[in-house]
């Protein structure tokens, strides 16, 4: 797990009003986490949630005043590609997403005057022995071997290809902008011997892990960003989080404003419409609107009476405008304090960590990073959750092997082309689910990844449907195809042949695991992952054999 160093420096960063951030020091304490040995956030005292309205202040007219804010960071103070000093260079390089955040981090880290210094220095990438903490794709072969046959291996968690590509792009960027801004030491490979470059690659991988494990998806403008403080809350995998990360995500992708920006009226920077046309078009609309309102007083001449009426309208308007003389109550505040307060008064321009349930003194406060399975947790955060309810065990490899039997060629080709997508959509409809969400992995042979046993030991509906399809004779297959509008009901019928097929695949799947001893430093990550997969398969085998 990426760890946190220099906590005091981080707290100082929060105390500096120019950072427009608020860390609730009265309520929160950073201590060693209950699991894993990294840092975690703990309650200094009992904190109650009085309101049951959890929608938060963002976009709502009301804020739940009773529940204290644990953390508020202005979007101006998050570390995103857009906010970093190299913003214009990233734009020219066409870089965004994780790549942009990692580069923003590296170039800010290299700048001793960076406004994020206190925060950036709190991100630790080394273990107690001074070795970079790397993701599983960078583990040595011995350690990788023990993931053989696991979902982690199947899903490519041990494959370094992506991180290599990242490194290549980062180096190319550093070279490209070198004439403007020196390379950060982490990307300065010039004249270094091969083994040193390899070490640098390891450090780079550790940085990507640290950044990606901390980054949040903010909005359509910033994309991914580091949010100081928000990344200290550890993950609860059991749908039992104490806090939510809240921010307005639906903003203008060009300028980040949440409403009323010029891009919504005139379009993006490179939009092709004739500028003057766009401008006058919209004005025409406004005007015609007003004309309708004032239809009854279409004038051919402007008289003194008309002017008098305008004048009295104007007086009324000016009268109704509140006196905007500035509030003197905070006159003793420094300029930056005043600006921080004004940034905070608009929660829509901030990222918040808000409490969603009451918490007792000295308890660790958890967030959730999403419904993530252990292979994902392992690759992104370097920890796993015991008996993770989001775990599944895939049967893809078994199915690929089985598919080679030409007896099922017709079944499979129809499933691949039509059946899978159709079944998923009929299933989603039957369950009242969002079809789009359910169909995300329906492209090409993505269905094979979707053939799996869920954490409760049951095959997923599509997996069962596929097994049931294969157990049909050619005549039955034809019938099913002809009545494809009833696919959902015909493929969910209980069928011992389908069960036998699934059982066969599960048994094959069990034999996929290697019998390797897990090296000691990896046990806490690898063993729970493997054990849970095996448990899931055992449950499935037990049920299917009944």
């Amino acid at each position: 797990m990426a760890t946190t160093a220099n906590v005091e420096g981080l707290l100082d960063w929060f105390r500096d009003p120019s950072n427009k951030s608020f860390w609730n020091e009265d309520l929160l304490d950073i201590r060693t986490a209950s699991v894993g040995g990294g840092a975690g956030v703990f309650a200094r005292e009992d904190i109650d949630v009085h309101s049951h309205d959890h929608c938060g202040g963002h976009g709502d007219d009301h804020e739940h005043e009773d529940t204290p804010i644990l953390l508020r960071v202005s979007k101006e103070a998050i570390l995103s590609g857009r906010n970093s000093k190299i913003c214009n260079l990233l734009y020219e390089g066409g870089l965004d997403g994780m790549q942009a955040v990692v580069l923003a981090y590296l170039y800010e880290k290299a700048d001793p005057t960076s406004p994020w210094k206190g925060y950036v220095d709190s991100i630790n990438i080394y273990d107690d022995n001074g070795k970079p903490i790397v993701p599983p794709c960078m583990w040595d072969e011995e350690a990788k071997k023990c993931l053989k046959g696991t979902e982690a291996e199947v899903l490519g968690v041990t494959d370094p290809e992506e991180i290599e590509r990242y490194f290549t792009i980062a180096l190319a960027f550093a070279r490209e902008v070198e004439s403007v801004i020196p390379r950060p030491k982490e990307l300065d490979i010039v004249g270094k011997p091969q083994e040193e470059v390899e070490k640098m690659f390891e450090v780079y991988a550790a940085i990507v892990l640290a950044v990606s494990s901390r980054a949040f998806t903010i909005d359509d403008f910033h994309g991914l960003a580091l949010v100081p403080g928000a990344d200290l809350f550890n993950h609860n995998a059991y749908d039992d989080e104490d806090v939510h990360f809240e921010t307005i995500a639906d903003v203008c992708p060009f300028c980040g404003k949440d409403s009323g920006c010029g891009h919504s009226e005139f379009g993006g920077p490179d939009s092709e419409e004739d500028d003057s046309m766009t401008g006058s078009d919209s004005e025409d609309e406004e005007e015609s609107g007003e004309e309708e309102e004032n239809d009854d007083e279409q004038l051919l001449e402007i008289t003194e009476e008309v002017i008098e009426r305008f004048e009295s309208d104007l007086l009324e308007q000016n009268g109704s405008e509140s006196d905007e003389s500035s509030d003197e109550s905070d006159a003793e505040l420094s300029p930056v304090e005043r600006e921080r307060n004004s940034a905070f008064s608009d929660p829509d321009s901030c990222c918040d960590i808000t409490l969603v349930k009451s918490i007792k003194k000295d308890q660790e406060i958890f967030n959730t990073y999403g419904d993530l399975s252990n292979p994902f947790l392992l690759s992104s955060y370097l920890f796993v959750a015991k008996n993770n309810p989001n775990d599944t065990v895939g049967l893809g490899r078994q199915i690929i092997r089985f598919s080679k039997n030409s007896k099922f060629a017709k079944h499979i080709s129809w499933w691949e082309k039509t059946g899978y997508v159709l079944f998923k959509s009929q299933f989603a409809r039957a369950r009242g689910l969002d079809e789009d969400e359910e169909q995300q992995d329906s492209v090409s042979d993505g269905w094979k990844l979707d053939m799996k046993i869920a954490a409760d030991g049951n095959p997923t509906p599509a997996t069962y449907a596929f097994a049931r399809l294969l157990s049909l004779s050619h005549i039955h297959l034809k019938r099913v195809i002809l009545q494809k509008h009833k696919l959902h009901s015909s493929l969910t019928i209980r069928d011992p042949r389908a069960n036998r097929l699934l059982l066969h695949w599960c048994q094959q799947r069990v034999s996929q695991y290697g019998e390797v001893k897990v090296p000691p430093g990896y046990k806490h990550m690898v063993s729970p992952l493997i054990n849970h997969e095996k448990q899931i398969l055992a449950k499935a085998i037990e049920r299917l054999s009944r």
């Binding site: 920077p269 401008g279 004032n294």
Partner: protein, 374 residues
């Protein structure tokens, strides 16, 4: 058959061609032919339009008598009618209706334009012209001259050079130059107020020609009293120096946010404060664009200097509080305590190894530094 005469609607947010005969009766009485395309246009623009109307029995008047001004400077209306720009002079997109659409579209996109050789050449030309214009206007600065008379000079000298005065109708700004006197921080609208011995006045000139804007401003002492005022000289000279210090730090690789550190440090050293509400800006084919250049320390402005980018630095420093107030004209910004404010600005090009001041002074330029009074 009588052919309708084609004219332009004088509504600043409209400016369209029209055959309308709807005229402002007050203007007619003053001998002005101000045509509005329709009554809703007239209604919409009335509040701004009436600023050119004279008041009987008064040469000039305060249009906002209920407003509590921070200092002694007050608007002296009526404004003179909008000055004409000959049709053959190419205009920026906002000239007609006030909306800088290309600017709006490019707002905050993260892109900082890099100019090529050809573009830089075109920009150099307009920057040199802008320097000529401000120098001519500055030579006219003396007690008794109204800021409107300076506007007339700037306007005429600009169009004489086949350039468009960029401020004119930008977001419906009514004049061709900004003239900011004493406690006015920036965006003062030229009017009937005569300059007085002891004033300082900032002239902020921008020209648009060959597709590029050139922007510069300087603060000038008015009369002997001003240069004899110790605190005033300290303010003006500190501002001038802070701009020079900031400029000398500019080179490829400099983080834009660093500029504010330099300016604020120098301001602090000399006991003056830095305005936070207004920034320097990128400038090229757009009047204002990325990057934003805050002049205060500890800002989080984005962007790093690289050869070919062009921006202004234009620190505004105040003798008293850094805080600003806006007049009801929605343009004029003054200090909250009524104490004086000074400003200097150049348009700058980042070069391979440093910076080129495109709007730099020459030997004949009026104004220039004055020794601090011990």
């Amino acid at each position: 058959m009588v052919e309708a005469t084609l004219t332009f609607c004088c509504g600043p947010d409209c400016g369209k061609e029209t055959t309308s005969t709807l005229k402002c009766p007050t203007c007619l009485k003053e001998g002005l032919n101000m045509v509005f395309c329709d009554q809703s246009c007239f209604r919409r623009n009335w509040a701004q339009h009436k600023n050119i109307h004279k008041k009987p029995d008064a040469d000039s008047y305060d249009p906002f008598p209920k407003f509590s001004y921070a200092g002694n400077v007050k608007p002296a209306y009526p404004l003179t009618p909008r000055r004409e720009v000959p049709a053959h002079i190419p205009r920026p997109d906002y000239a007609q209706n006030g909306k800088p659409v290309t600017e709006i579209k490019n707002d905050r996109t993260g892109k900082i334009k890099v100019l090529d050789e050809k573009e830089i050449k075109a920009l150099r030309v307009v920057c040199a012209l802008a320097r000529e214009v401000i120098d001519i206007a500055a030579a006219a600065v003396k007690p008794g001259v109204t800021t409107d008379e300076i506007d007339e000079i700037v306007h005429n000298e600009t169009i004489k050079r086949n350039a468009y005065p960029s401020p004119l109708n930008y977001w419906n700004y009514p004049k061709s130059v900004c003239t900011s006197v004493n406690e006015v921080i920036c965006h003062g609208i030229p009017d009937k107020r005569p300059l007085q011995d002891g004033d300082i006045v900032n002239l902020d000139v921008t020209l648009y020609k060959n597709g590029f804007h050139a922007d510069l401003n300087e603060t000038y002492y008015v009369g002997e009293k001003a240069t004899a005022n110790k605190d005033l000289v300290n303010l003006v000279e500190t501002t001038r120096e802070s701009l020079e210090l900031a400029i000398s730090s500019v080179k490829p690789g400099l983080a834009i946010r660093q500029l504010g550190e330099i300016i604020e440090a120098h301001a602090k050293k000399n006991n003056v404060s830095v305005v936070r509400s207004y920034c320097g800006h990128g400038i090229n084919t757009l009047f204002h664009c990325q990057p934003d250049i805050p002049h205060y320390a500890k800002n989080k402005a984005v962007g790093v200097c690289k050869p070919g980018i062009v921006f202004t630095i234009e620190p505004m420093l105040n003798m008293g509080t850094y805080r600003d107030n806006l007049w009801p004209d929605n343009w004029t910004s003054t200090t909250a305590d009524g104490l004086p404010s000074a400003q200097f600005e150049h348009t700058l090009l980042v070069t391979e190894d440093g910076v080129e001041v495109l709007t730099s002074r020459n030997k004949k330029s009026p104004g220039g530094p004055v020794k601090r009074i011990a």
